[in-house]
């Protein structure tokens, strides 16, 4: 390697170490994502109209978030968040991982599914791919003891805005009467 190339490489590494890290803050997924149309069945839809809202925080390879369900497209009539066990209002996202190379979000949900299990929690795995301002993919039941094991659900969400405190409201596990099992705790 020539001395010039070596110097250039050292300079590039130093530059990256000093400033590059600060520029790679991945906030691609951070914000609120909503379904534009009624979510179909079988996991979420299938009965009364259901609209889904996914609020995400994105921290490098880690993603945290909350999935909430609404009765209307204006997202003004939530399922009852004060009684999520009964009303299946919201579910916490677990083990959210952002795969930068494939622009894919992997996560788990452990909670109710309004379409097939509005009261009993299910383990559901989600895989959504990012394409511009759209997240599209599937949810799949991975609860081994459930008769719905392997059932899949397509899901398509579009970015609608940034996160606010109100977007993260979900019944606290310890304050719910019987534990917020439906919300994932």
């Amino acid at each position: 390697m020539g001395r010039g190339r070596l110097r250039a490489r050292v300079a590039a590494v130093a530059w990256t170490c000093l400033f590059g890290a600060g520029c790679t803050t991945s906030t691609e997924l951070g914000g609120v994502w909503r379904s534009e149309v009624e979510v179909p069945g079988p996991l979420i839809g299938g009965g009364d109209p259901v609209y889904a809202e996914l609020s995400l925080g994105h921290y490098g390879p880690d993603v945290a978030g909350l999935l909430r369900f609404y009765h209307d497209l204006e997202f003004e009539q939530p399922f009852d968040s004060a009684a999520p066990y009964r009303a299946c209002a919201c579910i916490f996202v677990h083990k959210g991982r952002w795969l930068d190379a494939t622009s894919r979000l992997d996560f788990q949900l452990r909670g109710c599914m309004p379409g097939i299990s509005p009261q009993e929690p299910l383990l559901v795995r989600g895989e959504l791919e990012l394409d511009a301002d759209e997240l599209e993919g599937t949810l799949r039941v991975e609860e081994p003891t459930s008769p719905h094991f392997g059932t899949e659900q397509p899901l398509r969400l579009v970015r609608t805005g940034s996160l606010g405190d109100a977007d993260l409201r979900c019944e606290q596990p310890e304050s719910a009467q019987e534990g917020n099992r439906a919300s994932g705790r």
């Binding site: 170490c17 000093l18 890290a21 600060g22 520029c23 790679t24 803050t25 991945s26 925080g57 921290y59 490098g60 390879p61 880690d62 993603v63 945290a64 978030g65 916490f92 959210g96 993260l168 606290q172 596990p173 310890e174 705790r185």
Partner: protein, 489 residues
């Protein structure tokens, strides 16, 4: 007889040279009194060589190029070489002198004011108000003198001085006009004018003034007396100043009138009149005898004026830091500023105190929950080493670091919902809020003398914290760099 002839010839050459050199060795410390390792070069400025070789008959013949310019340049070069080759001499040659004075930003406002006064004087003169013109032009010349414009480039000050003389002629003050024009020729003796540009009485006054300058001008002090040279030495930051004028002696032979001024001596201490023929040969005895009387400063500054004991150094710097051990997965950057004081207590030994204020920005993964501020104080002693304009200091010290709201976690639920949310496990949170870290710091500092006591300062340091015992395993080993400006009192 064969042996006596060469000895007599040698004496014939050496004796006139020896008598021509009038150096007066009065200094208390000779070069050899200081050990070599502690010697510092004596800073000598050589001012542009002047000449008094013009002819009155050429004054109104601008088409005739001055014949002596090459001769003057040659004398200047020989003088520079003679000084440069002397041991422990750091020469600021005429180009360097011009550059230093030209780079001095503090004189620019004065130069602008002098130019404005000159223009105003010219307007008064053209508006037939010679008394006001004289007042303005006098002020212009004084301002130019104040900033040593005659050394930087004499044309502008000579313009004002000649115009002052012309205005005085118009005002009917012949005596003052003669003095002013003679002074103007002292500034720019090779100045020529277009014939019939001025009125006949002005031309006559110019001719008389030049003739007077050539015959009775003070060619031994071409740049003025002690006060002016002392001010010039301060601006140039030199220990001594050498100036010279090339003149014709009574017999018409060319000679160089040399004079050396020294700051510590507070005056002129060596003068010589050397024939231009064989100048290189005769310069060496003059310079070596004069410099033998000029003390060589010790490295600790005991003799030299540039370094003294108990110097106080102050600086303010921009600062950047990162930690080699941190609870975050990627480094977070800390930016801030620092201010410090260092005081010499012995040669090459100082004590210092520094304060740093940092704002630490969140890392790319936002493991650091908030940007936070911290204050850091470092105190210790420094071991310094100086080489020319560069001073290097090694500073070991004690580091006290008060952290602000330092809370870090790798749990994304803590980041999204906050550290008090039930989803956020407290086991994943590193909370060093308001902790005080104590440790040892080591720094290397480079100070570059910018002149006029200003310094450019670069500092690199690292610390290792050992207290509190439960905090240093999470956050430790800060590395910081600083760049700033300082001033030496």
């Amino acid at each position: 007889m064969k042996l006596l002839l060469p000895v007599a010839a040698a004496l014939a050459v050496l004796l006139p040279l020896a008598s021509a050199v009038a150096a007066t060795p009065t200094a208390s410390l000779a070069s050899t009194d200081v050990p070599d390792a502690q010697k510092r070069p004596r800073r000598v400025a050589l001012l542009p060589v002047k000449s008094a070789l013009g002819r009155v008959s050429d004054l109104f013949a601008p088409e005739r190029a001055p014949e002596h310019l090459a001769l003057v340049a040659g004398v200047e070069s020989s003088l520079g070489d003679a000084l440069r080759t002397q041991p422990y001499v750091e020469l600021v040659d005429p180009a360097g002198v011009r550059a230093r004075l030209g780079d001095d930003h503090s004189s620019r406002a004065t130069a602008r004011l002098a130019a404005e006064r000159y223009r105003l004087g010219l307007e008064y003169y053209l508006g037939l108000a010679p008394a006001r013109a004289v007042e303005s032009l006098r002020r212009s010349v004084a301002l130019y003198q104040e900033i040593h414009q005659d050394v930087v480039g004499p044309k502008s000050i000579a313009d004002a001085a000649f115009m002052l003389g012309v205005a005085l002629v118009d005002a009917g003050n012949a005596v003052a006009a003669h003095v002013a024009l003679k002074d103007a020729f002292a500034l720019q003796p090779e100045r020529r004018f277009r014939p019939r540009f001025f009125a006949p009485q002005v031309e006559a006054a110019l001719s008389a003034a030049l003739a007077d300058h050539l015959s009775t001008g003070n060619h031994d002090r071409p740049y003025g007396g002690h006060e002016r040279l002392a001010a010039l030495a301060r601006r140039l930051d030199v220990d001594a100043i050498v100036s010279a004028t090339v003149v014709r002696d009574e017999g018409g032979a060319l000679e160089v009138r040399l004079v050396a001024w020294r700051k510590q001596r507070q005056g002129f201490e060596a003068e010589a009149r050397l024939p231009v023929a064989g100048l290189e040969r005769s310069l060496e005895p003059f310079t070596s005898r004069w410099l033998a009387c000029v003390p060589v400063a010790e490295a600790n500054g005991a003799v030299g004026p540039r370094r003294r004991q108990n110097s106080v150094w102050m600086d303010t710097s921009a600062s950047y830091a990162l930690y080699l051990r941190q609870p975050t997965r990627l480094s977070f950057h800390s930016l801030g500023f620092a201010a410090g004081v260092a005081v010499d207590i012995r040669p090459n030994l100082e004590w210092f105190v520094r304060m740093n204020m940092y704002t630490s920005l969140s890392d790319p993964y936002r493991d650091l929950l908030h940007a936070f501020n911290s204050v850091r104080a470092v105190a210790g002693i420094g071991f310094s080493l100086e080489r020319g304009r560069l001073r290097l200091v090694l500073q070991p010290g004690l580091d006290l670091h008060v952290l602000g709201s330092f809370i870090a976690t790798t749990d994304p639920d803590c980041k999204l919902y906050g550290e008090s949310h039930p989803l956020c496990s407290s086991a994943t949170v590193s909370n060093l809020e308001a902790d005080v870290l104590v440790g040892l710091n080591i720094a290397t500092v480079a100070l570059f003398d910018l002149g006029r006591r200003f310094l450019l300062i670069g500092r690199a340091s690292t610390s290792t914290y050992f207290l509190p015992l439960d905090g240093t395993d999470r956050l430790n080993f800060p590395v910081s760099v600083e760049l700033g400006l300082g001033y030496r009192f």
